[in-house]
Amino acid sequence: MKNRLPGLAIPLLLLLWWILITGEGSDTLLPSPAEVFSILVHPFQDQISTGSLIWSMTVSLVRIALGFSLAVVVGIPIGLMMGASRQVRKYLSLMIEMARPLSAIALLPLSIILFKSETLSQFFGMSYLRYQKHLLNEMQLGMIFILFWGGVFPIILGTIQGVRSVRKLHLEAAKVLGARKAFIFRYVMIPSALPDIFHGLKLGIGRCWMVIIAAEMLPGTNSGIGYLIRYSYQLSRYDIMLACLVIVAIIGAFFSKGLEALGEKSLVLRSRER
């Protein structure tokens, strides 16, 4: 009985929504669940000339994939180094702490100055793509930078936490068993740190989903789920706007849960001993 409760929250929310719009004398602008649903069941249909929901979603997903991958590739090594070496930690921690409060949104103007509205297709010199509808045309460098910025700090902090929580007993065991530093790092420290690294990744990808809306406010943007939310709002198409919110909620949760499940697997093995 107990574990069915979370599932109950969603129908309740729908009911509340339905009551809100059909209630006596209701003058809300909110569309009904049915209207939103009718948008959601036609994912391939073009919406207000910005492309289909699937297209918008794909664009946003690829943007997140690029920004988040960059955050992983940069964040994990920095975290590993900061976790393993006091020297590096001392050196970088002030910088990280100063950078952290600068939200991705605060960096929008800076990213415009740095990257203008250059896209990946321009970056790779593929100018023949300019007048085609192509994913690479939608990948603004500034946007990837902002997504990277949003995702990288939780990953760094999670990795540091992971490396630092390696049990002394395991390090000593490895040492008396004849393992050298590099070997210990690879076979003891990294596996021990994995659960915390995954936790950082989960927070990081969540942050990316929050930031994508801000990132898609960059000038020159005319695609993506974040853009569609803003544009449909401007055109008072609240049904489309809500449909987009529902999609982001579902896919965002899907990603977090996926990473959580991966982390859980390593966590179970580590924590059982305690």
């Binding site: 007993l169 395991h170 000593e172 065991a173 490895a174 040492k175 008396v176 068993l177 004849g178 393992a179 050298r180 070997f183 076979y187 003891v188 596996p191 021990s192 994995l194 390593s266 093995l269 580590r270 924590s271 059982r272 001993e273």
Partner: protein, 253 residues
């Protein structure tokens, strides 16, 4: 021939509340192939002595000499911790293989054979793909023992490896260890606070006094194998060592 020679070893820990003189000076020679028990009350520095020999602590003064192996190579040291210290994310097989892999110069087939043989010896063949948390405490300790034996150490150091187990399991493992020692012909230094365990296992017992740990007595245990805990001689050793212990407690620090 000596396997290990400790001379004038001293260790002080720096704590916030001041320095704690934990050990020494201690001087000790261990004959090759012998089974030495270091016996002492809790907090007498016996673990510190063992950790220093293993290179986990750096002594303030004194020296530790490990004799080179038969062909002049560096001696291999095995160490078993109080709580197994198995790696929980690795299977038993991977745990036991770890020291072979870490040394790097042993090929895959040899590794597999040696891990298989050692698991057979400690009776864990059927559990090689299990994870530590799936095994009982006694089995975990046997796996830890296998992991430190797989490198065929010249000297094996054990820090109260059976103290967290129930009496029955502990006695089984003691018998197991004594047999293993006879087969493997390695030198063993075994730290314990249990007099009975020491008398059962050791060829010689060294009693360490209260902090700072110093050797207060050396006692050769001359008992026939298989040793019986109920024999007259066993009890005599037990009582005699117990007396030393009582004197230690009465003695003002």
């Amino acid at each position: 021939m000596k396997a290990l020679s400790v001379t004038g070893l001293m260790k002080t820990f720096k704590e916030k509340s001041g320095d704690v003189h934990a050990l020494g000076p201690v001087s000790l020679d261990v004959t090759q192939g012998s089974f030495l028990c270091v016996l002492g009350p809790t907090g007498c520095g016996k673990t510190t002595l063992l950790r220093t020999i293993a290179g986990l602590e750096i002594p303030d003064s004194g020296s530790i000499e490990l004799m080179l192996g038969a062909d002049g190579r560096q001696p291999v040291v095995g160490y078993v911790f109080q709580q197994g210290a198995l790696f929980p994310w690795m299977s038993i097989h991977a745990n036991v293989e770890f020291p072979l892999l870490a040394r790097g110069n042993i090929d895959r087939i040899t590794r597999r054979l040696r891990v298989g043989a050692i698991l057979e010896m400690v009776g864990l063949s059927d559990f090689s793909s299990s994870y530590p948390h799936q095994l009982s405490g006694g089995m975990q300790q046997r796996a830890a023992l296998a992991r430190s034996l797989v490198t065929q150490p010249d000297i094996l150091l054990l820090d109260e490896p059976f103290s967290s187990l129930d009496t029955r399991t502990s006695q089984d493992l003691q018998e197991n260890l004594r047999n293993t020692w006879k087969e493997a012909a390695t030198t063993v230094v075994f730290v314990t606070h249990s007099i009975e365990e020491a008398v059962y296992l050791a060829g010689e017992v060294v009693v360490l006094g209260h902090r700072p740990g110093r050797i207060v007595r050396r006692q050769v245990i001359n008992l026939q194998d298989p040793r019986s805990r109920l024999s007259q001689e066993f009890t005599e050793y037990l009582v005699s060592l117990r007396r030393t212990f009582e004197e230690l407690v009465e003695e003002p620090e």
